[in-house]
């Protein structure tokens, strides 16, 4: 379970100061898929970066399974599987070596590592590319490898920053199936997106974020009821008060 309480984060000083996150609070529960939905520049990536302790919030608190991220960042990172916005692979290593590197950094025993890697390769349908160097991988193959290395330590909580970015239709569908299977395993899945249909099709809960604030935190049905719009996209536009940034 991931809890975010009154998170604030700003960059720069004086006139150049930009407030990225301005008092965001929400909860992502185990066995649910939570979607962080918002237009470009709404503060999704910054919020997630505070969650996986890459950044320190100016104020507010992040709890992962009840553990304070500020107090014990290493333990929190151990409980998280993270697919960041930046998902570069090591080009001169094979997909297998990329995955094993992260497994070793997690301190996983060799046998467990083999078992986990094979299971993930099966689930992500990437067995055929395991022993190829990742240089020249397609976007889909790269995302698969990045997900496998992020989940090789079997984390209870999974954070994905725009996981379907740049994927084609088939890969996107495979990704959705994979997210659902993680939910079925009882994990807490939190992902960000600016794509309406994706969030609607997957999420048990939608957290709408705009200008660094949470403007709604509901199930898709409740969201439609709250705004009085039958269509989720209209509901979304109504919530954030502008259609800027939706074109993407």
């Amino acid at each position: 379970m991931i809890e975010v309480k009154n998170l604030h984060k700003a960059f720069g000083k004086g006139a150049k100061r930009v407030v990225a996150v301005d008092g965001a609070s929400f909860v992502a529960r185990d066995g649910e898929i939570t979607g962080l939905l918002g237009p470009n520049g709404a503060g999704k990536t910054t919020t997630l970066r505070c969650l996986y302790t890459l950044m320190q919030p100016d104020s507010g608190q992040v709890l992962v399974d009840g553990i304070d991220a500020a107090a014990d960042p290493v333990v929190v990172r151990r409980r998280l599987g993270v697919l960041p916005d930046a998902r570069g692979l090591y080009k001169r290593l094979t997909a297998r070596e990329n995955i094993d590197y992260f497994a070793r950094l997690h301190g996983i025993e060799t046998q467990t590592m083999h078992a986990r890697r094979e299971a993930l390769a099966e689930a992500l349908e990437m067995r055929d590319i395991l022993d190829r160097r990742t240089e020249g991988f397609s976007q889909g193959q790269r995302v698969k490898t990045a997900i496998a290395r992020a989940l090789v330590h079997d984390p209870k909580n999974v954070i994905l920053d725009e996981p379907t970015n740049g994927l084609d239709v088939m890969s996107t569908r495979a990704m959705r199936t994979f997210l659902k299977s993680m939910k079925a395993e009882g994990r807490c899945v939190l992902f960000s997106s600016h794509i309406m249909q994706e969030v609607a099709a997957l999420c048990d809960r939608i957290v709408v974020i705009a200008r660094g604030r949470v403007v709604a935190d509901e199930s898709p049905d409740a969201l439609r009821a709250q705004t009085g719009e039958a269509n989720l996209e209209d509901a979304f536009v109504k919530l954030i008060g502008t259609d800027e940034g939706l074109a993407a």
């Binding site: 290493v74 333990v75 993270v82 960041p84 998902r87 570069g88 001169r92 992260f102 301190g107």
Partner: protein, 391 residues
């Protein structure tokens, strides 16, 4: 397995797969010093030998005014040539090293016993012409003194009254010390070797990793950042040390075949030279690795990092230049200064001068402390938030 070791092994493996890095570490870096010295020595030896033995080609204007002088020069292995139309221009254009001009009133002054003027036309800024000029000056001086002595004798005086002072040269330089002066640049090439060996990794593990967007996922792992940095620094230092080791070995081997004794020099390149040089270079490789990583961590991109590091590469040349321009007496504190200490140690070892073990240890410890401090500063930079964020 320890996280730092995991990072170290991954960086080594990844970079061993990069052909350019491997060539820099194993070939370019180590071979640079020996190759430059083979070239330098060979040019120098051939030039010195050919200049000393070959007849001196000398264009002379007005040779017929001084037949006795010309005859004496010819006896001293000088090949008299007709002068070019404009001697000054010929010297400036480097068509001639030196031109001798004898005026038409030479014979008249000579017969009267007055100083007869000859002109040496040369360009003192031409290093290459210096040998010919010196040689001609010596021949003219000798002829001058010979004739002067004969004239005194003809008047019944002893030539020694013109020599109230007798100066005798007692040069205390040994063949080793002469070669040491010439090889003052060598330590820089060892240091440069280590620099080249570590450079690719310093960039690749920081600015490169950020540019390829793999730093953020890496830092999301449950490993303290200083451990990640330790692994990366270790890999950079390991490559730098490999280059330095190969560089020293290559030089020790090639040095045996350099024809240095032909110009009266000997190099001391025994096992002690190899061991002591490696000993003082070890912490320096670590220090350079930290500094390179530190500088590369500041850079926004791979290219920027390369530019900064190229500038950083010029820093080690400062003590080398200082010591070759201002040759000061070696003092104990010099061993304590990183770069200067290595410079002094290696130069003295090559010259065959004694370097006490305590000085070696002082050099090692002080450079190691500097390396540690640089690592700590780099670790601080690594903890900053903006380091991880790509783009």
């Amino acid at each position: 397995m320890n996280a730092a070791l995991t990072v170290f092994l991954k960086e080594v493996r990844e970079n061993l797969r990069d052909r350019r890095t491997v060539i820099n570490t194993l070939v370019t870096g180590p071979l640079m010093a020996p190759l430059i010295f083979v070239l330098l020595i060979n040019t120098l030896v051939t030039r010195e030998l050919s200049k000393a033995e070959a007849p001196l080609a000398l264009p002379v204007a007005g040779a017929h005014y001084a037949p006795n002088l010309i005859a004496a020069l010819k006896q001293d292995n000088v090949d008299i040539k007709p002068a070019p139309a404009d001697p000054e221009a010929a010297v400036r254009n480097q068509d001639a090293d030196v031109v001798l001009r004898i005026g038409s009133d030479f014979a008249k002054a000579w017969d009267k016993g007055e100083p007869a003027q000859v002109e040496m036309i040369y360009d003192a800024s031409q290093q290459d012409a210096r040998g010919s000029t010196e040689r001609l000056r010596k021949l003219l001086d000798a002829y001058d003194q010979r004739t002067g002595a004969l004239r005194l004798l003809a008047r019944g005086l002893s030539p020694s009254i013109l020599k109230p002072l007798a100066v005798a040269d007692r040069d205390q330089s040994t063949p080793q010390s002469r070669s040491g002066m010439m090889f003052a640049m060598l330590p820089y090439f060892f240091i440069l070797g280590g620099f080249i060996g570590g450079m690719a990794l310093a960039i690749d593990t920081t600015a490169g990793e950020r540019e390829r967007q793999s730093l953020e996922p890496l830092l999301a792992n449950p490993v303290p950042r200083w451990k990640i940095l330790a692994g990366k620094l270790g890999a950079t230092t390991a490559f730098a040390i490999t280059t330095v080791l190969l560089s020293i070995l290559a030089f020790a081997i090639v040095g045996q075949f350099l024809p240095t004794e032909k110009i009266g020099m000997t190099l001391t390149l025994g096992p002690r030279f190899v061991a002591a040089t490696l000993f003082v270079m070890l912490p320096l490789a670590a220090l350079l690795g930290s500094l390179q990583t530190l500088v590369a961590a500041f850079a926004k991109s791979y290219r920027e990092a390369q530019t900064y590091l190229s500038l950083l590469m010029l820093v080690p040349i400062v003590p080398t230049l200082l010591l070759s321009v201002i040759p000061v007496k070696t003092q104990l504190w010099m061993y304590a200064v990183p770069l200067l200490g290595q410079q002094v140690t290696i130069t003295r070892l090559m010259r065959g001068d004694p370097v006490p073990d305590s000085a070696l240890v002082l050099c090692f410890v002080c450079t190691a402390v500097a390396a540690l401090l640089a690592s700590l500063v780099t670790a601080r930079i690594y903890h900053s938030e903006r380091l991880a964020i790509s783009a």
